[in-house]
Symmetry: C2
């Protein structure tokens, strides 16, 4: 019973944009992409699983960092071409830069300015490369 996957408007690469929103605060944590397999896994695991376009593989968010996303609700929009996840973000860090969320660059008269501080050094989150 994968009918719910057939209702999604996948793009010509078989992907759909997926927004992760913190269920408690409403903060938008990140925007990533899913293919059918990623959305299916997300539903099965009740954790955010995406498709990494750069690595061309499934990306179970938090797999290495421990910062998984517990998915509480999944919605799609009117034309079924965007997925929205309501999540609880373990560790309070969604961004690979070590910030709480990814949308930390705000447009000001001086261009894009950082608005959020790094909560944890990425090398601490992911470990130093060997």
């Amino acid at each position: 019973m994968n009918d719910y996957l057939d209702e999604i408007t996948w793009n010509d690469q078989g992907l759909v944009p997926a927004i992760a929103q913190d269920q408690g605060s409403g903060q938008i944590l990140m925007m990533a992409w899913m293919n059918r397999e990623a959305l299916k896994k997300t539903i099965e695991l009740k954790q955010g699983v995406y498709w990494s376009r750069s690595r061309q593989k499934l990306w179970h968010k938090g797999e290495s960092s421990g910062h998984v996303q517990h998915v509480k609700e999944i919605t799609i929009d009117c034309d079924a071409d965007t997925v929205l996840l309501q999540v609880d973000q373990v560790g309070g860090i969604a961004c690979h830069t070590g910030r709480a969320h990814c949308f930390f660059r705000r447009l000001t008269g001086k261009g894009w300015q950082n608005t959020e501080s790094v909560l944890k050094d990425p090398s601490e989150i992911y470990g130093k490369q060997p």
Copy 2:
């Protein structure tokens, strides 16, 4: 001084996904796309202007319905490939279906179920076609 546009990671079609979030409630209203011109116009007008992929033209949201979006803040994410707008949605209706927002189809055991009622009939918003 368009340097801020050069910092965006435009996709191979020259577009970037743009999320509109209600500044007051935190509700995600819609996800659409912008090209350089749309983002520039959005900044100039302080209102949401998108690129309509179906009509292949600039789309000043609310132009015909009056339901414009007053843009209060613009942020980009860590890799600068998604734009997030904090907006005040005039009329409280962001979706072309006449609903407050576009993400009204929630995944349940019975598939995608509508969760939001129509606030205004689309024919009232856009007028009947001649």
